[in-house]
């Protein structure tokens, strides 16, 4: 995406430094490059999925400075100087993140396409509200659409992750 052959891109690119999952990356991007394509193509992090590409489905959700954002509706240049967390940034040295373990154990997914977005939105919810009610979970996830399972096990997974995080004292 950063190299456009045969087209004069003078003035149409900008330098950015984006910290993705803790690692700062400085590069020149086309101004029109969407954050989701920056993550998938420039960074090679394909865990962030392109679903509807019209900001309706939430599959492309990442955290920008800790706040859920639909990365198909944000430009890479807007993320300049910011911290982005993708699904690849959830697991730590100690293994899977509690939200990943919970989605696995509670069967919070079938095809998995919506799962990265679901988990990132849920992570932000739990950071803000460590013990959400079912209604609060459903409300927080209302911008993320799953077309396989329905939401019962997804809600259970978020509750389980909340309980695990509270136990860990995180």
């Amino acid at each position: 995406m950063t190299q456009t052959v045969g087209v004069d891109v003078a003035g149409l690119t900008s330098p950015v430094t984006v910290t993705v999952n803790g690692e700062a990356r400085s590069t020149e991007v086309e101004n029109r490059l969407l954050l989701v394509h920056f993550l998938r193509q420039t960074m090679g992090l394909t865990g962030t999925h392109v679903g509807c590409d019209t900001s309706g489905c939430g599959a492309c959700t990442v955290l920008v400075d800790g706040v859920p954002a639909k990365s198909c509706t944000m430009l890479a240049v807007q993320a300049d100087g910011r911290q982005v967390t993708t699904v690849e940034g959830l697991a730590g040295a100690g293994g899977l993140h509690a939200i990943q373990t919970a989605f696995h154990e509670e069967h919070g997914l079938q095809c998995g396409f919506c799962t990265p977005g679901m988990m990132l939105t849920a992570t932000a919810l739990l950071a803000d509200n460590p013990d959400p009610s079912e209604e609060e979970i459903r409300w927080a996830l209302s911008g993320n659409i799953c077309r396989c399972t329905g939401y019962v096990n997804i809600v259970k997974a978020v509750q389980a992750a909340g309980a695990a995080l509270r136990e860990e004292g995180r």
Partner: protein, 292 residues
């Protein structure tokens, strides 16, 4: 989908942003939350030569009370309004509207002022703020201009803002001590645009209606003020007859079109029902604050 190529500027001040806008004439668009502008650019409904991003300008993310009224900066997000204690109570029409806009992730980034500048006839803020009597403070090359919202909206996605102006603040006047409001929205599913929305804001004076603000979403070429209903209520006792006749007047003032979300008759009837319900809810909200 990719937007067409554009130049990108992220100025650090409004003055700098205005200089850039002047340079581009009518070929630049102002970027705040981007939740409406970027989808339009991806669909190539809009292909500006340049984007002027306001997000690096300090101080525009503030929401505060000033001389009894409210000031909402150009970078105040829907989610911020959803959480703001300030928007409950007397400003309930705003506090009720905020969580009904799109979905939680979009609300994290989309802005109040951007929604007004976008002027979608199905925009929720346009009605809620019009009912509250709000005005837009725009800065341009010749200084600051105050635009009442019913003069801002000219038609679908069309405003009286000049291409060289920036919507910097939304100002909501003091509704007085005995005020309440609500926003009622019918949507097919969570996150959908309004089939119909009705915003109601009432201020009471000695037990009678002082000012009534009623505005309608999704039933006209832009957010509509139900002027006849507002005028009928001003100075009146808010009894059942007054409520019903105001609701009829609001329905008569609507200009809905049949589409996938419902027939024109259906939408007009929803306006009537929601206006009636909204008036009762707003009066109840105002009444709660009168109790010792």
């Amino acid at each position: 989908m990719y937007p067409a190529s554009f130049e990108y500027q992220a100025p650090a001040s409004i003055d700098e942003a205005l200089t850039i806008l002047e340079r581009y004439g009518d070929e630049a668009k102002v970027l705040a939350g981007g939740q409406s502008l970027l989808p339009l650019m991806k669909l190539r409904f809009a292909s500006p030569r340049a984007l002027v991003d306001l997000n690096r300008i300090e101080g525009l993310g503030e929401l505060f009370e000033d001389n009894g009224g409210l000031m909402i900066g150009a970078l105040v997000r829907h989610a911020q309004c959803e959480r703001a204690e300030l928007l409950r109570g007397r400003y309930g029409v705003l506090g009720d509207a905020a969580p009904q806009i799109s979905d939680p992730i979009v609300r994290n980034w989309g802005t109040v002022a951007g929604s007004l500048a976008h002027a979608d006839p199905q925009g929720d803020w346009g009605s809620a703020l019009m009912a509250a009597g709000a005005e837009l403070q725009a800065r341009g090359p010749d200084g600051t201009r105050t635009i009442p919202l019913d003069e801002l909206f000219q038609g679908p996605f069309t405003t009286s803002l000049e291409p060289t102006e920036i919507a910097v603040w939304v100002r909501v006047p003091d509704p007085g001590p005995n005020a309440g409001g609500t926003y009622l929205k019918l949507e097919r599913k969570v996150g959908d645009f309004a089939t119909v929305g009705v915003a109601v804001q009432l201020s009471f004076d000695n037990g009678k209606v002082g000012r009534a603000g009623i505005a309608l979403t999704g039933v006209g070429p832009c957010n509509l003020r139900a002027t006849a209903a507002e005028e009928a209520l001003a100075g009146a006792e808010l009894d059942d007859d007054a409520i019903r006749s105001a609701a009829d007047l609001a329905a008569k003032g609507a200009d809905p079109r049949s589409d996938v979300r419902g027939s024109a008759d259906y939408k007009r009837n929803i306006v009537r029902v929601f206006t009636e319900r909204g008036l009762r809810k707003a009066a109840e909200a105002a009444g709660r604050r009168e109790e010792p």
